[in-house]
């Protein structure tokens, strides 16, 4: 059977419709955005490994990618250059400045998230005030450094986040073969969450080994599962919803190291009802951000 443009489009469209992504015939990608009801907000993204020499150029590139899949907004975190697990205050400040530049360039499509390091708490708190209290940022994280998140040094940072009612995205992994020095696990985050039961904590990557990570955070209701940044292994999102409820599962991509496509597929390809997908893709993160967005007069 000779392939034709019509049969190819039909074939591609059949796939997308079942993924809740309607397809049209426009050039070049033949792809239309997600249905509006999903209102996808990506809670976990970075500017690293993205084409472009400046935060503004990289943001433009990401927006082009978002438009192809119908992603409405990004929460942008640290990470423009190579990752530093023990950044100097100067490096932290530069990272935050880059994120704020990207967000100011596309305020309609991105919100910023604060980078701090528990290695220097006093500096971190000043940075908190500069970027969140007095600046445009609405979230904290992805926190990732060589200090595990159950360390007491995290307490004043979490307390400040609680005071301003902003969520914290904490990197976690449970790596087969062992974590890096100081790399946090979901169990570390549980310890922190139990010291701060009113804090809103997002478990980055749900520990990667999600079958273990989901179990680790299950009984700690102020921890939410971030599904970003691991291979799109089937069953992840279904198990997270089964064990935590759809209200505790949050979509993120971990771009630029990951693609929007592989990560949003974890939701679109999951065997879940539409209302659950709406919560995961955007409803939950908007609910967590609602107080700070309202306080800053920002749209949600």
């Amino acid at each position: 059977m000779a392939i034709t443009r019509r049969t190819a489009l039909k074939s591609l469209a059949a796939g997308l419709i079942s993924a809740h992504v309607p397809v049209g015939a426009q050039e070049p990608a033949g792809l239309e955005p997600l249905p509006k009801q999903f209102r996808a907000w990506d809670a976990h993204s970075h500017l690293d490994q993205v084409p472009g020499n400046t935060p503004e150029e990289r943001m433009d590139y990401l927006v082009r990618c978002m438009d192809k899949l119908g992603i409405e907004r990004l929460i942008v975190s640290q990470g423009f250059d190579e990752f530093e697990d023990r950044p100097t205050p100067q490096q932290v400040r530069v990272e935050n400045d880059r994120v704020m530049r990207a967000v100011r360039h596309r305020p309609d499509r991105a919100y910023g998230s604060l980078f701090v390091s528990p290695a220097d708490v006093e500096f971190s708190l000043r940075e908190f005030d500069r970027c969140v209290r007095d600046g445009p940022m609405v979230c904290v994280g992805e926190l990732q450094c060589d200090v595990r998140c159950n360390a007491p040094a995290l307490d004043p940072i979490v307390a400040r986040a609680e005071a301003l009612d902003v969520p914290i995205l904490q990197h976690t992994w449970i790596k087969t073969g062992g974590n890096d020095v100081g790399e946090s696990t979901p169990r570390d985050l549980v310890e922190l969450a139990r010291r701060h039961p009113k804090a809103k904590l997002i478990c980055g990557h749900t520990g990667g080994n999600w079958e273990i990570g989901i179990r680790a955070i299950r009984d700690t209701p102020n921890i939410y599962a971030d599904i970003a940044g691991s291979d799109p292994t089937a069953g992840f999102t279904e198990m997270a919803v089964r064990e935590l409820g759809a209200e505790r599962v949050i979509y993120g991509s971990d771009v630029g190291g990951r693609s929007f496509a592989s990560q949003i597929a974890k939701v679109l390809g999951a065997d879940l009802p539409s209302y659950a997908k709406e919560l995961i893709l955007g409803g939950n993160i908007r609910r967590l951000l609602a107080p700070v967005l309202e306080a800053k007069g920002l749209p949600s």
Binding site: M1, I3, R5, A8, K10, S11, L12, A13, A14, G15, L16, S18, A19, V21, V23, E27, P28, A29, G30, L31, Q49, V50, P51, Y61, L62, C65, K68, L69, W173, K175, T176, G177, G208, N209, E211, S230, D231, P232, T233, A234, G235, E238, V255, G256, G257, R258, S259, F260, A261, S262, I264, A265, K266, L268, G269, A270, D271
Partner: protein, 281 residues
Amino acid sequence: MIDTNVHLFQWPFRRLPADDPDEFVLKLKARGVEQAWAGSFEALLNRDVSGVNERLAAACRKHGAGYLIPFGCVNPHFPGWEEDLRRCQEIHRMPGVRIYPNYHGYSLADPALIQLLASAANRGMIVQIALSMEDPRMQFPLMPAPPVDPKPLAKILPGMPELKLMLLNAGYWDGDDAPEIRTIRAAANVWFDIAMNEGVGGLDRLVAATAVNRVVFGSHAPFFYFEAALLKLLSSELPLQQQMRISAENARQLLRDSAYSFKQLGGIEQDGEQFAKMRGH
């Protein structure tokens, strides 16, 4: 759409949605897949590879000619692997084999593998090498299987121009610009699937680094959500014509070429014609 990278049956370490072949086929058809090249998860750990291949062929036949195309497994370290290869082609009518060096404990520099590649090339069979099956950081702790190092292929490929080699799940070398990797990317007889291609713009980079006629659609379903590969393809910046090539045309051409080689085999020419007819050529 032709999906060149699916597996049937159960992943050893987790029940997957749609790991029942009947349910899986329904799901693939609902997503617009017109043909899927199927290996067997059983091949990873079962030692009776001949039995694995028989069950795979039977399951594929059950779903109608030309829909699931079986790719059996051959372990070149097993005694009598040549017979497995023969059965794959002559009994089960498989156009190729899929091998798992990291689960079977050999490298791509292994002389036994080189013999297997040469034999498959002589038979006109496609060889799919699964460079990985799972992120090593997420593997079962008692059974780590690090990704396969593809670099030895750079020395092998120039001596085997007839070999039709497809590298599956080649995600762990993105950004690696070693001379060997550049050689493999440039080889005219090496195809790449997209299942583990990652990063923003990842597919555009893969096509730029290889060739648009040597990139094929592969989902690694049901281990991965099928939609991951589909959305990578459709959200790429590639023109529609190139997306269409990747989605089906390249795989179709590769199979057609394989079928022609198959047809040239003495004594089974008729089967070769049927083989081609079955696929609508």
